[in-house]
């Protein structure tokens, strides 16, 4: 038995996650991913008005604030049988793509970058003149020059010298796994600060057609309410302007940073990979779904890109053998039940997480940017293929290196670029419709007494599905299977690990007291635990005990 390392809480994520790894011979031999909080939104939904479901489920997550809102609306729409107008489809795509831009930028700079970038090195060792020279060779970033980097460094130095280190206190600075030269650290640290400001601006795209961000408030079953904002040319121009500023940042800062940082961490192209991938696909470009999805859906098993298949939601089942629920066979979400049974934290053989283990044809599947990128690549989608090939060529790494932590982090940037670029055409489509006099944003419908429906999306963190059953015009049953349930779920009855657990195996650990390498792979999945666990037991009065290891 190797040495156990526990990281609880995993920070720089949404939610409460505990990761435990067993290390032997300087490498991870086994890993356990455990969700540590539950709220119960599915149970709270029972008996309520189906029109309210999207507003409730939206509160699963304030980071990916748009995504449950969208999938839930689509599930209700499927159940009541309403087709939304073209303008609503376009606006929903634009809001969703804006979520991609926002989420992925924030993830890379504010949740993930500090796994690769050493802030202390940026402050104490970097030469601003050399930093400017480096930045000029790798990017077209609008802010730069020696005086700019000198000023950022001084700002950080003032912060550090104050002795109030706040968010950068007591981290893994100076860890041997940090490989960037001081100048690259300073460049990335500057962009961390720029991105903090940019994301506040980018979120205004959501406010324009959604009233506010987080928690937009303009979708309704049958369409979208922000009709006055599309009738006002100023509003569309404002959206277009912020889109451009954001996408310029993606092109001129985010992508170059990914390439610059990755060039020092090419060994991570061989660490942190998984084997199976699933995407439902998203961004319908006409009313024909899923055929018209801009990002296609697919299933890849055992890394076989040639054997790619179309996904079928009927093949999903959730296994609870190793999660804190009553025993039962693995069930499809539409028949899903949730009977929690609290117990000890027993990672070795027993139950150890509140996250269920979803499986596709009994296999764990990674979902998210890497899955989508591989699927689009395998299907020969032009925009993705060109960008991926460019990245591989620039970094001089083989296509196999995509199956890794490095590949996952690069794929996130790649799809931000591609999806962000597509937004321009969608804005033009919207303007074209309005020019023709088509300003319809909502379709009327009637609530049936009894109905079932589901909504599938591919959201920034991966494949998302909502399933609803309506009876007497009320919610009878509601289940959702979210990206972080797929990625962060535990082992199943067959002992097959969840994707994060699988990805962690083999990870080198230089210093067990400071497991930076574990964070790199866990963060590369962009975990969102409040989303992953949303179920609670109303009846049991058993106390959930945790054995502190």
């Amino acid at each position: 038995m190797g040495k156990k390392i526990t990281i609880d809480p995993v920070t720089r994520i949404e939610g409460h996650l505990r990761i435990e790894v067993e290390v032997e011979g300087g490498k991870v031999k086994n890993a356990w991913s455990s969700g540590q909080m539950f709220r119960g939104i599915e149970m709270i939904l029972q008996g309520r008005d189906p029109r309210d479901a999207p507003l409730f489920t939206q509160r699963s997550c304030g980071v990916c604030t748009y995504v449950h809102y969208l999938s839930s609306i689509r599930a209700v729409e499927a159940a009541v049988g309403v087709k939304i107008p073209d303008n609503a489809r376009i606006l929903r795509n634009l809001l969703h793509a804006a979520q991609y831009q926002h989420d992925h930028i924030v993830h890379f700079y504010h949740l993930h970058a500090l796994d690769w970038v050493d802030i202390v090195s940026a402050v104490t060792k970097a030469d601003p003149v050399k930093t400017a020279a480096l930045a000029d060779t790798v990017s077209n970033a609008p802010l730069g020059g020696a005086s700019y980097y000198k000023q950022v460094q001084q700002r950080l130095k003032t912060f550090v010298d104050s002795g109030q280190l706040g968010p950068i206190n007591n981290a893994y600075w100076g860890h041997p796994a940090y490989k960037l030269p001081p100048e690259a650290n300073l460049m990335a640290a500057s962009h961390y600060i720029e991105a903090l400001r940019l994301q506040a601006k980018a979120a205004r795209m959501h406010a324009i057609f959604g009233g506010k961000n987080p928690h937009l408030q303009s979708l309704v079953v049958g369409g979208i309410t922000s009709v006055r904002d599309i009738l006002t040319p100023d509003r569309i121009a404002e959206f277009q302007h912020i889109w451009k500023v954001t996408q310029d940042f993606v092109r001129n800062v985010y992508i170059p940073d990914i390439l610059a940082v990755a060039s020092f961490y090419k060994d991570w192209g061989g660490i942190g990979g998984t084997d199976n991938f699933l995407a439902w696909g998203d961004f319908p470009e006409t009313e024909k779904e899923p055929d018209s999805n801009f990002m296609p859906g697919g299933v890849i098993m055992k890394r076989n890109l040639k054997g790619i298949k179309m996904p079928n939601q009927e093949k999903v089942a959730e296994d609870v053998t190793r999660a804190w629920y009553e025993d039962g066979t693995a069930k499809h979400p539409s028949k899903g039940e949730t009977k929690p049974q609290h117990g000890d934290y027993s990672p070795e053989k027993g139950r150890y997480s509140w996250i269920k283990a979803p499986r596709y044809e009994e296999e764990a599947c990674e979902v998210g940017p890497l899955a989508r990128t591989l699927i689009a690549y395998a299907k020969g989608k032009k925009e993705i293929k060109e960008t991926v090939d460019n990245v591989l060529k620039t970094l001089d790494i083989p296509a196999d290196a995509l199956f890794s932590t490095l590949g996952r982090t690069a794929a996130r940037a790649i799809e931000t670029l591609v999806v962000g670029n597509a937004m321009e055409g969608w804005i033009n489509q919207l303007v074209g419709n309005i020019k023709k006099g088509d300003t319809k944003t909502c379709q009327s419908w009637k609530m049936p007494d009894k109905a079932m429906g589901y909504g599938l999306n591919d959201v920034p963190r991966g494949a998302l599905g909502h399933w609803i059953e309506i009876e007497n015009k009320k919610i009878k049953n509601y289940q959702y299977v979210v990206p972080s349930t797929w990625n962060l779920g535990p082992k199943c009855g067959k002992g097959k690990p969840g994707p994060v657990e699988e990805a962690l195996i083999g990870t080198p650990i230089a210093d067990p007291k400071r497991p930076l390498e574990v964070l790199r792979t866990v963060h590369s999945f962009d975990p969102c635990i409040a989303c992953a666990v949303h179920v609670i037991d109303p009846d049991s009065n058993e106390v959930y005990k945790i054995r502190v290891t």
Binding site: Q36, D49, R59, G62, Q199, P214, D229
Partner: protein
């Protein structure tokens, strides 16, 4: 003077003009309900903190939407708040440290700043089964809150969850979720909203830094400056209500004309908040402007009291 000059130089280097900074401070001073004579003092709070006030930010049962809202602050920008105005000692979503190092940071901050720090709480606290429904490092939310909150100079509950329990406290409230004041039996300043407007958090903090005390609050713990008037009373669509010009169907001509959403279930008359005036995301919009009825999201128990959302009150 010298300090002030340097401050404006720094602002300008960051691309913020003295004029726009003053404009922000004036806006903030007005939102806080203070006379314009306070503008220079509000400016001072941002200009020259000798020691940045320490903040310990606790995340419990929540969706992180309130942290996200805080990061949407656009005057001061989030980087100003984090690097120059506040000292965020503990915040799991942004801190670089992980695992046991986070506990060291928390304990160090508690020791160093006992009685002096601002505690911001996001999320509700599970109280059933000894608070067993949410844990960090093996400690329940309830234990952590009991340890940290009483040591703070002030506890600010950001969002409806920490203020009053929020969505997880909606019927049947399986985990016995409660707001912080209720769970711990203590007085807190509440900035409800799902999520709240960051302007109202900044206004509350500035008030504290300016006067050394928290703003005047109502019996639900809400600062008067932000929650003193109903959404309905401040709504730009109010005249349509008076003229009985209502939207009765989404997608209708009346909706396109911006008529009153009362009959679509708008909860503005029962909701106290400054959304129509402050608006969200740097004043970009707010739900009614986007054609959607108000949900009443800053009122206690709104998930039960204000639902079904699309039915007339």
């Amino acid at each position: 003077m010298e300090k002030e000059k340097k401050f404006y130089e720094r602002l300008e280097q960051k691309g913020v003009s003295r004029r726009s900074f003053m404009k922000y401070c004036t806006f903030l001073t007005a939102s806080m309900g203070l006379s314009s004579s306070y503008v220079p003092r509000v400016t001072e709070v941002f200009a020259a903190p000798i020691q940045r006030p320490p903040v310990i930010w606790l995340n419990f049962a929540e969706c992180t939407g309130c942290t996200e809202a805080f990061l949407r602050s656009s005057y001061p920008f989030p980087d100003d708040l984090i690097l120059e105005i506040l000292s965020v000692e503990y915040h799991e979503t942004i801190m670089a440290a992980a695992g046991h190092q986070t506990e060291e940071n928390l304990q160090e901050a508690l020791k160093k700043y006992s009685g002096k720090f601002i505690c911001v709480v996001e999320g509700a606290i599970a109280t059933k089964y000894d608070g067993a429904y949410g844990k960090i490092r093996g400690r329940t939310f309830l234990e952590i809150a009991k340890d940290v909150c009483p040591k703070a100079a002030a506890v600010i509950c950001l969002g409806t969850c920490s203020s009053y329990g929020g969505i997880q406290a909606a019927k049947p409230n399986p985990g016995g979720y409660k707001g912080v004041g209720d769970a711990l039996g203590m007085k807190t300043v509440n900035i409800p909203g799902c999520p709240p407007n960051p302007v109202n958090l900044v206004g509350t903090v500035v008030n504290y830094l300016l006067f050394g005390r928290l703003p005047k609050i109502d019996d639900l713990g809400r600062p008067d400056f932000a929650y003193g008037k109903s959404v309905h009373d401040q709504c730009p669509r109010r005249s349509h209500f008076e003229n009985e010009e209502f939207v009765t169907r989404f997608g209708s001509q009346e909706a396109a004309q911006g008529y009153c959403l009362y009959k679509m279930g708008c909860k503005g008359p029962e909701t106290y908040n400054n959304c129509p005036v402050a608006k969200f995301n740097d004043g970009t919009s707010w739900p009614v402007e986007a054609g959607h009825p108000c949900l009443g999201c800053s009122e206690p128990d709104f998930w039960d009291k204000m639902t079904p959302f699309f039915e007339e009150m």
